[in-house]
Structure formats: structure tokens, C-alpha cells
């Protein structure tokens, strides 16, 4: 935690920490405490009276069908994004781990989507699937007879944001899977090969289990990403629609608080989200500590 050799000074360490702590207090801890505080208050329609309502906002939230639906949508969205992005990245990483020629070129060509903003990723796929002119929508119609329309069909809209969000995350997963694969001792795989195990069998019985720490870590990271970093993807494209089909929790907080100006309800939603982040962070950290020992 601390160096063996340290300096002594009365005020210098506080001065060094001051900027970080000031920003943390003003922009993080204070707003978070306010969210907690507002979540037990209720404002009347004209913003004139504020009443203490204890847990009424939460009770209301969890009896509100649109909120529960938004919860379901978010979970479905996150799981789909994680699954799609992880499986795609794993296949590519396994292949990239095998090839010798051109390995760096493949890597370079696969990592750039990381740099694309989630909102821009949304716009790109929104264009590809645009019912009128999108090339993917055209292919679906001309070759498969499917009439794609994410402005009317909720499933299509959901698929659109899942694809856009998963696409952006492939690079990240690919890099970590590749690093994980390269850390597996070659001797294990060679021993299995001598015993006559086919590449596929070697993958399922040796490589995949040894990769499980990386996989678990990536699952958590991907779920956090899908929960919190995809606001731009949704806001720039479907805007929660059609008919709330892509109204995820984070989008709903923004929409209820900023557009709907429901102070107490939005604060209660923020608190629920905070609980989710804290849980996910704790899971991630406990797990990482174990990995260090291992």
C-alpha cells in the first residue's frame, strides 16, 4: 500500500491530493448524496412543495410496469451484447493465435473499432440497416424476403442496438482473449496433441477452461459496458423506441429526469443504478484479487 521509504511533510500531501479530492467531492460524492436524498422526496407538479415520502418512490418504481419492462430490456440487451461480442471475439482470437503469417496485420485491422464512439457506432449501423437505403436492410429484403424496419418493429430496433454495441466491443474482447490465449503454456497443448487430441477437443478440454478467468473478467466488463456506456448508441439512433422497445435503464433515467423532469422518480432510478454498479464493481474486484493470488 505504501512505500517503505517515505517523505515527511506537514501540508504537501494534502496539497497534492487537493485537486483530485475537490473534484471528487463536488462532482461525485455530493451529487451522489443528493440523488440518495431526492430519492426519498417527492415534488408536486408545480415544483412548489417537497414532501418526505421515505421509500414510496422505490415502491412506485418497482410496481411500475414500464420500469420493470425497462429492467428486462436492459438485461436482455446486456446479455445479448456480451454473448455476441464475446463469441465473435473468441473465434477470431483463437484463429489469430494459430496463424503466424500476418498476425500483426490481422490484429491492427481488428482493434480499430475500439476507437469509434458508441454514438457513432450506432449511427453507422443505423445507416446500414436504414429501411429505405441501408445496404443490410436491402440485402435482407432482396435475398431473404425480410422487411427490416427498426422504426416500427421493436425486435428489429433491439437487434440494431445489440449489433452496434457488440461490434464496438469486439476489439476489446479480442485483445484480452488473445493475451489470455498466448499465456497458456504451449507444453500442455503439445502434450495433448501427442496423446492424439484433435484441435477442437484440445480447445474444449484445455484451452477454454484455462481461459475461464479471462472470460469471466470480460463478461463483467461487457455487462458494465452494455449497461452504462451504450447511452449514446441508443440516443443517437432509436431514442428508446419504438414504443419503449429499446428503453434501457440508463436511457430511462435520462428521459424521466431530463425530459420528464420527475425529480424523485429519476433519483430513485439513479440509486438503483448505483446499487447495480457497486455490485458489479465489487464482483470485479474480488475476482481480480483472486486472480492475483492464482
Amino acid at each position: 500500500m505504501i512505500k517503505r521509504v517515505t517523505f515527511k511533510h506537514k501540508w504537501l500531501p494534502y496539497a497534492l491530493l487537493a485537486p483530485q479530492l475537490l473534484i471528487t467531492l463536488v462532482f461525485f460524492i455530493w451529487p451522489a448524496s443528493q440523488a440518495l436524498y431526492y430519492s426519498v422526496l417527492q415534488q408536486d407538479a408545480f415544483g412548489l412543495r417537497v414532501d418526505f415520502v421515505a421509500f414510496d418512490n422505490f415502491a412506485y418504481l418497482f410496481s411500475d410496469p414500464t420500469y420493470l419492462e425497462s429492467f428486462e430490456i436492459t438485461i436482455m440487451f446486456s446479455v445479448s451484447v456480451a454473448l455476441m461480442s464475446l463469441s465473435f471475439a473468441l473465434i477470431l482470437a483463437v484463429m489469430a493465435d494459430r496463424v503466424i503469417k500476418g498476425a500483426t496485420a490481422y490484429k491492427t485491422l481488428l482493434i480499430w473499432p475500439y476507437a469509434v464512439a458508441p454514438a457513432i457506432a450506432g449511427v453507422l449501423w443505423y445507416f446500414l440497416f436504414n429501411p429505405a437505403v441501408g445496404i443490410n436492410a436491402w440485402i435482407l429484403r432482396a435475398w431473404f424476403g425480410y422487411d427490416w424496419n427498426h422504426t416500427l418493429n421493436g425486435t428489429d430496433a433491439m437487434l440494431l442496438i445489440v449489433i452496434a454495441a457488440a461490434w464496438k466491443q469486439i476489439s476489446y474482447n479480442f485483445l484480452f482473449f488473445l493475451a489470455g490465449l498466448q499465456a497458456i503454456p504451449r507444453s500442455l497443448i503439445e502434450a495433448a496433441a501427442i496423446d492424439g487430441a484433435s484441435p477442437l477437443k484440445r480447445f474444449w478440454t484445455i484451452v477454454f477452461p484455462l481461459l475461464s478467468p479471462t472470460t469471466f473478467f470480460l463478461v463483467v466488463v461487457n455487462i458494465v459496458y452494455a449497461f452504462f456506456d451504450t447511452f449514446g448508441t441508443i440516443h443517437a439512433t432509436t431514442r428508446g423506441g419504438p414504443y419503449g422497445a429499446t428503453n434501457t435503464l440508463v436511457y430511462k433515467v435520462f428521459n424521466d429526469g431530463f425530459i420528464g423532469l420527475d425529480l424523485g422518480g429519476s433519483a430513485a432510478q439513479s440509486v438503483v443504478l448505483m446499487v447495480i454498479v457497486i455490485t458489479l464493481t465489487v464482483v470485479q474486484f474480488r475476482y481480480i484479487e483472486r486472480r492475483v493470488e492464482y
Binding site: 517523505f7 483530485q20 460524492i29 440523488a35 496463424v99 485491422l109 475500439y114 446500414l128 473478467f217 435520462f254
Partner: protein, 311 residues
């Protein structure tokens, strides 16, 4: 190579090329669309090869922007994005470096409290505290005035003998408002802390014997040693800053402060008519260009930064 299976190698290359094709498809279509005139993109299927309207599209977007939406030229939006990305990256690195230095190299009361306060920021992304943070930005002294009210002081100003300090400072529509709330960073502080712990104690001892104080040690020894870490972190943070969306959306109403990533949504979400896709795609290409160029150009630093910030 464990064994020689030529067909499997061919298959691997095939899968990789296919994967790259799928990953690159949106980029290809975007760049191609940005070189066509608007009327080429009105009927399906749209062209998949470059058109000849590239110069016009880029000149129009960079010079004057899309008139019927915000009408800000993209040069301005890109400048705003650049200011935001640079301030966030440099700001985060600067305050995290000194904070990590204080936590690692000094023994002082409340050290662990400070550490945990920084740690907590990990659990409070902007998305979960949208409204109250907006309130603080609308008036930075909100926390102070509310605390003073709790203590029984009324009003929003501090009256001292001779001067009156008005506690009202809005950061809406300013670069400070765009960047300051995003500058506190637990990850960067942890990264530097992790690195400082690996720096040999002998260096500190030697510096102390030679009579160097903490600040001189920091400047002449620690900072040069941290150079690669700083560069790697800069790449990650620049991308992070450039790609911000929700925060600029909240704090900017003045079109003069719109960033490019956030500005594009107003070009896409136009009421009732089909967006001008050739121009939208021109804007998208320009929005992607700087961060993608950085990732590809500084690949080694990027990978290092990515792996280390996750520890």
C-alpha cells in the same frame, strides 16, 4: 505450431479475413457514402464504390456544416472535441499523478480515507447521477450554499468585511463544464499507484541522501520513469474524452460548444424527412478519424494502456 495441419491454417486465415470483413463493413460503407452526392443515396441498393463528390461534401461540412440543423461548421465541432479530449486526458493524468504520489510516498493522517474517496468514484459514473451533477454544473457553489443553509446561513453570498462573494457560478456552455466533472479518475490514480509501488526504494533513499526534497524527487526521478505509462494512458484517455456523449449533451445548449460526436445525432434525428446521408456519413468519418488514427498509429501504447487500466 503444435502440428502441421495446412487446411486448418487456411481455414484460420479464411475466418480471420471474413471477420475483418464483417468488422470493416460499416467503415467501408460510411467512407464510400461520404464521397457521393445526396441523390445517389436515395434509392436502394446504394453504391458500394467511391463516388466523385468527396471534395464537395467535406468542403461543405468543414466549412459551413449542415444548414438546417445546428448549422455549425465541423471544424468548430472538431475543435471543441479536441479541446475536450486534450483537457480530459491531460487533466486526468496530472491530478492522478500527484494524487498517487501523495498516497504512495507520504505517511499522513487520513491517508486511507483519501484513498477510499478516490476509489468511490469508480462506482459513480455520470450515468447514475445525471440530474444532481447537472445541478452542480449549473451552479458550482451549490454544495457550499446548501451546506451553509444547513448551518443556518441564508442567501447565496458570503459577506466578508469589505467584500461580498456571490456564490453563483454556472459552468453550463463552457469548456470547464464540459471537462472538469470528468477529470477525477480512480483508474488513472490506481495505475500510477501500481507503478510507483514497483519503483525501487533505493532510488528514493539515494535521492534523499543527496538532499532532494519530495518535489525534486517527483520531478527529476519519478516523472521521467513514468513516461511510458503516461503516454499509454494518454492514448486511452484521449479516446475516452473524444468519444464522450451524454455529458456534452447535458451541459451544452449553445451550438458553439457542440462536440462532433454529440453533434451528429442532431443531423440523424431530423423530423419527418430522410437525413442527408452523404453529409451525415462525412461527419461520421471525420468524427472517427482522430481516435482511429491514434489507435492504429500508436498501437503498442494503446494495447499497453488498455491492459494496464484494467488491473
Amino acid at each position: 505450431m503444435v502440428e502441421n495441419r495446412p487446411w486448418l491454417t487456411v481455414f484460420s486465415h479464411f475466418v480471420l479475413i471474413l471477420g475483418i470483413g464483417v468488422v470493416a463493413l460499416p467503415l467501408w460503407v460510411t467512407v464510400v457514402a461520404s464521397t457521393h452526392a445526396g441523390e445517389d443515396l436515395l434509392t436502394s441498393p446504394i453504391p458500394m464504390w467511391f463516388g466523385d463528390n468527396m471534395v464537395d461534401n467535406y468542403r461543405q461540412m468543414l466549412g459551413s456544416g449542415m444548414q438546417h440543423v445546428s448549422g455549425q461548421p465541423l471544424t468548430l465541432m472538431m475543435f471543441n472535441s479536441l479541446v475536450m479530449a486534450l483537457s480530459i486526458a491531460i487533466g486526468k493524468i496530472a491530478i492522478s499523478l500527484i494524487a498517487a504520489f501523495a498516497i504512495c510516498y507520504f505517511q499522513f493522517p487520513l491517508r486511507m480515507t483519501c484513498f477510499w474517496m478516490i476509489f468511490i468514484t469508480l462506482m459513480l459514473p455520470v450515468e447514475v447521477r445525471i440530474l444532481p451533477t447537472y445541478e452542480v454544473i449549473a451552479n458550482v457553489f451549490t454544495p457550499l450554499t446548501k451546506l451553509l443553509n444547513l448551518l443556518g446561513m441564508e442567501g447565496t453570498e458570503i459577506v466578508l468585511p469589505g467584500i461580498t462573494i456571490d456564490l453563483d457560478l454556472s459552468m453550463l456552455d463552457s469548456y470547464a463544464g464540459l471537462t472538469l466533472p470528468l477529470i477525477a479518475s480512480a483508474t488513472a490514480t490506481f495505475l500510477f499507484r501500481q507503478f510507483f509501488l514497483t519503483v525501487p526504494d533505493e532510488l528514493t533513499e539515494a535521492a534523499r541522501i543527496d538532499g532532494a526534497g519530495p518535489l525534486k524527487f517527483f520531478r527529476d526521478i519519478l516523472l521521467p520513469l513514468s513516461r511510458t505509462n503516461i503516454a499509454a494512458l494518454f492514448v486511452i484517455l484521449f479516446i475516452y474524452g473524444w468519444n464522450q456523449y451524454l455529458w456534452p449533451l447535458l451541459v451544452t445548449t449553445d451550438p458553439a460548444y457542440v462536440t462532433i460526436v454529440m453533434g451528429i445525432q442532431s443531423m440523424v434525428n431530423v423530423a419527418d424527412i430522410e437525413p442527408q446521408w452523404n453529409l451525415v456519413m462525412t461527419a461520421a468519418t471525420l468524427a472517427m478519424l482522430p481516435p482511429v488514427a491514434i489507435v492504429i498509429g500508436m498501437q503498442r501504447l494503446f494495447v499497453k494502456g488498455l491492459v494496464e487500466t484494467e488491473k
